[in-house]
């Protein structure tokens, strides 16, 4: 039996030998290398519309993220084209759905870059998806701007990847500071999604900032995105009777959590991050979410003219109030067009250099400066859910970048000093 098995298996042993065949033929180095070569240096067509790629979750459980972003991108492109385009050429956007899955995101970006030959890519919202797409963009040497991925790791992929939003380290600080200073809540429970990098990262940043500023984490409870029953975790939280509960998850789960928390008699306000930002939140949670706060990239109630113009054109075009993701999609596209105008050519290297040297770009979500780590330095706003709508509460600036006279409800980051003062969280977020 063993010998017969061996004889049958013998040809199989030949496979590794077969693998060595090319080696015998001389040096393997002369063989054409696998598709993963260096940065693509193909000449970009000089006439016709400039093609920009976008990938996002247009379907799937976080579909409003992708749709809002796409609306913002579309609006920006229309405005840029109406104003004569970039370098005398019109812009065109090609969008692929990634269904909120990392593998799909990687495939979509590969297709955009190698098949459609886009000059730059915009996407994604969720950090884990930006990581997947970003590595492809870096590999092929095509710049990618993430509108709203806040996990610090995303831009560490390489020099092709940048973003127009703040990072979680800052967001954690913002929520912690707001809770301590404005809510006078220093005993805070945390309920986070252990399956989402965004949620886990934000939780850690928040806990660190809270403790550093003198607060206390009452308890840490975890769930997994898509869970339906949170009663065990919420009961444990209720037993510690915290002043507030921080839920750094996505709106899809937050709705359920809020309803079940109120059912269990928990009256403490819920706090959250930009993952709450969706018109669906109020629909899902109803009255349960009333009075809760979350940090966001902008508020449509901001009185700055740039914001108000954006809100009214967006409403006229899409019939809805733009959420933060729409504003960031809009800003990312406008910033990209601005960089294209400044770049000597549209090759990946030149364009990335132009994007990375952006300073004081006037965006809807604040004045954007891309820092050496390719993250955007800017302020965050805190909004409160009232009557099913997120209402503007306050603006919180990066540490050491507070404007001299904090003006209520006006011009966040407008007066932020541009000198070398690092964003508050930079040191903490760097390993």
């Amino acid at each position: 039996m063993p010998t017969s098995l061996l004889r049958r298996a013998a040809p199989l042993l030949a496979l590794p030998l077969l693998a060595m065949l090319p080696l015998l033929g001389g040096c393997g180095d002369t063989a054409p290398t696998a598709p993963q070569g260096g940065p693509a240096t193909e000449p970009v067509a000089q006439t016709g519309p400039i093609l920009i790629g976008e990938y996002g979750s247009l379907t799937g459980s976080e579909a409003t993220f992708g749709q809002s972003t796409h609306n913002g991108v579309t609006l920006a492109i229309e405005e840029i084209n109406a104003a004569g385009g970039v370098k005398g050429r019109q812009l065109e956007v090609k969008v692929y759905d990634d269904q909120g899955k990392t593998q799909e995101a990687g495939t979509a970006v590969t297709r955009l870059i190698t098949d459609d030959k886009v000059v730059a890519v915009i996407g994604e919202v969720a950090s884990s998806l930006s990581m997947a797409g970003g590595r492809v963009a870096q590999q092929y040497g095509v710049p990618m701007i993430s509108p709203s991925s806040t996990n610090a790791q995303v831009t560490r992929i390489g020099d092709m990847i940048s973003r127009v939003c703040f990072i979680d380290g800052f967001q954690g600080y913002v929520v912690a500071k707001f809770a301590l200073d404005d809510l006078k809540a220093d005993d805070i429970a945390i309920l986070y999604d252990q399956g989402q990098a965004y949620s886990k990262g934000l939780k850690e940043d928040f806990a660190r900032e809270l403790v550093a500023m003198g607060g206390r984490v009452a308890t840490e409870q975890a769930y997994t995105g898509g869970d339906q029953d949170f009663s065990a975790q919420l009961t444990a939280i209720r037993d510690t009777s915290p002043d507030a509960i921080f839920v750094p998850g996505y709106y899809t789960d937050v709705g359920n959590i809020a309803i079940q928390a109120r059912k269990l008699g928990i009256t403490a306000p819920l706090l959250g991050g930009d993952g709450w930002d969706s018109a669906q939140l109020a629909t899902l949670a109803g009255d349960a979410i009333e009075g809760s706060y979350y940090s966001n990239h902008y508020s449509h109630e901001d009185t700055r003219p740039a914001v108000q113009t954006f809100v009214s054109t967006y409403q006229a075009r899409f019939g809805a109030v733009p959420d933060g993701l729409a504003a960031l999609g809009y800003d990312a596209t406008k910033l990209l067009a601005d960089a294209m105008g400044r770049a000597p050519s549209l090759s990946g290297k030149d364009l990335a250099a132009a994007i990375n040297s952006t300073t004081d770009f006037p965006g809807v979500t604040g004045t954007i400066t891309i820092d050496p780590e390719r993250n955007a330095r800017k302020a965050a706003v805190i909004v409160q859910m009232k009557g099913g709508q997120p209402r503007y509460v306050t603006t919180i600036h990066p540490k050491g970048a507070e404007p001299a006279a904090p003006a209520e409800g006006a011009a966040p980051a407008e007066g932020a000093p541009a000198e070398g003062a690092a964003p508050a969280t930079e040191g903490a977020a760097t390993p």
């Binding site: 496979l15 090319p22 054409p32 899955k101 950090s127 797409g133 399956g195």
Partner: protein
């Protein structure tokens, strides 16, 4: 005189050496040739996007064909294949990433085709397969004494356990200095958690994918045609009768399970090092396991070419349906329900592609040797 005739008969029955040798090696040469053709001719000709699709197809073929050894050959119902894939992927990832960091001080790919980096990658694939096989043995030994639904539950639970454990891990280390500062045994906890194991070098190419696809197909076909493989099939057909015939059914089932796990581990290793994939716990969850089961059921339980064919279809379907992606899961479900009603045995049932009357006629007309 009896012995003389016995010797003569034995000599007469011994197949001639040369044709046997040719027949034994022909598939190896053909598959190897196809692999090289894909890598050096087809890949550069179709460009990176279609190359990536071809790689995705190859990885799914490995998954489907290997799962078919358990679900198709022995008739057990395992739905934890993605768990083994994850084990293989993370093991291989640690080897290439941390191995690369400590050997060359960089996690970037080293050397060209079959350069030192790729050899490390080949080693990591085998280690990934071994790790998955080892775990398959540990999981399989107690649970394969169970039958039907219970095995499904155990394997489902296993897949979830792997996923949740990986979620709890810490961030990936970025540099050789950081790597030197921590003890080696803590490395399995530094694989990125929910964000995924990022920064893995992109070693996976058409060559490596189809090398392992060839290996999987050869093993599966040789197994199915062997007496050892017939023992697998007998377990599926009637466990009690097989036991009565002296077949150690539990041992056979464990063997099938370990073999399938090993290939799933290799598939995971290839997946981990592919451009545009991220090795993260969310990706290798229940859905991925179920996708593999769908491929096997769709292709026909026990049909190797059926599983391969279904893997191709199911990989390409979402790409073709990207515009109506919302309805993709509906299409899946519908296809399965229709399948259960119309062809409960799957596309090809127990048969292989060339057993179909149409294909057979074509082969004969074309002067095919089968």
């Amino acid at each position: 005189m009896a012995s003389a005739s016995l010797q003569e008969r034995a000599r007469a029955l011994t197949p001639p050496a040369l044709p046997t040798l040719v027949r034994a090696w022909l598939p190896v040469l053909v598959l190897g040739g196809l692999t090289l053709l894909l890598h050096f001719v087809v890949g550069p000709a179709v460009g990176p996007y279609y190359s990536k699709l071809l790689m995705d197809i190859g990885i799914n073929v490995i998954l489907a064909v290997s799962l078919n050894i358990v679900n198709g050959f022995t008739g057990q119902f395992s739905i934890g294949h993605a768990g083994f894939m994850a084990v293989g992927g993370y093991t291989a990832g640690m080897v290439t990433y941390y191995g690369g960091l400590s050997l060359w001080g960089s996690s970037l790919p080293q050397g060209g085709f079959l350069g030192p980096g790729e050899l490390l990658f080949a080693l990591s694939c085998l280690l990934g397969g071994l790790a998955a096989a080892g775990l398959g043995y540990i999981v399989g030994l107690p649970s394969l004494r169970l039958r039907g639904d219970y095995l499904a539950l155990v394997t489902l639970g296993f897949g979830e356990i792997v996923r949740v454990l990986v979620q709890q891990t810490d961030d990936v280390l970025f540099s050789a200095e950081e790597l030197a500062a921590v003890p080696v045994w803590t490395l399995p906890t530094k694989v990125g958690g929910a964000l995924g194991f990022t920064g893995l070098p992109f070693y996976t190419s058409l060559f490596w994918v189809y090398l392992f696809v060839s290996l999987t197909l050869l093993v599966a076909f040789r197994l199915k045609a062997s007496s050892h493989g017939r023992a697998y099939l007998s377990v599926r057909e009637d466990e009690i009768a097989a036991e009565a015939m002296g077949i150690p059914t539990t041992r056979i089932k464990v063997r099938a399970f370990v073999l399938a796990a090993a290939f799933a581990g290799i598939a995971g290793a290839l997946f981990a090092h592919e451009v545009g994939t991220t090795l993260n716990p969310r990706e290798l969850g229940f859905q991925k396991s179920f996708e593999a089961v769908i491929m096997v059921v769709l292709g026909g339980m026990g049909s190797i070419s059926g599983a391969g064919l279904a893997a191709v279809v199911i990989t390409l379907l979402p790409e073709a349906l990207r515009s109506v992606a919302d309805y993709r899961m509906v299409v899946y479900a519908l296809a399965l329900v229709v399948m259960m009603l119309v062809r409960p045995q799957g596309l090809l049932g127990l048969h292989e592609l060339w057993d179909l009357p149409l294909v057979r006629r074509l082969l004969r007309r074309g002067g095919g040797a089968r």
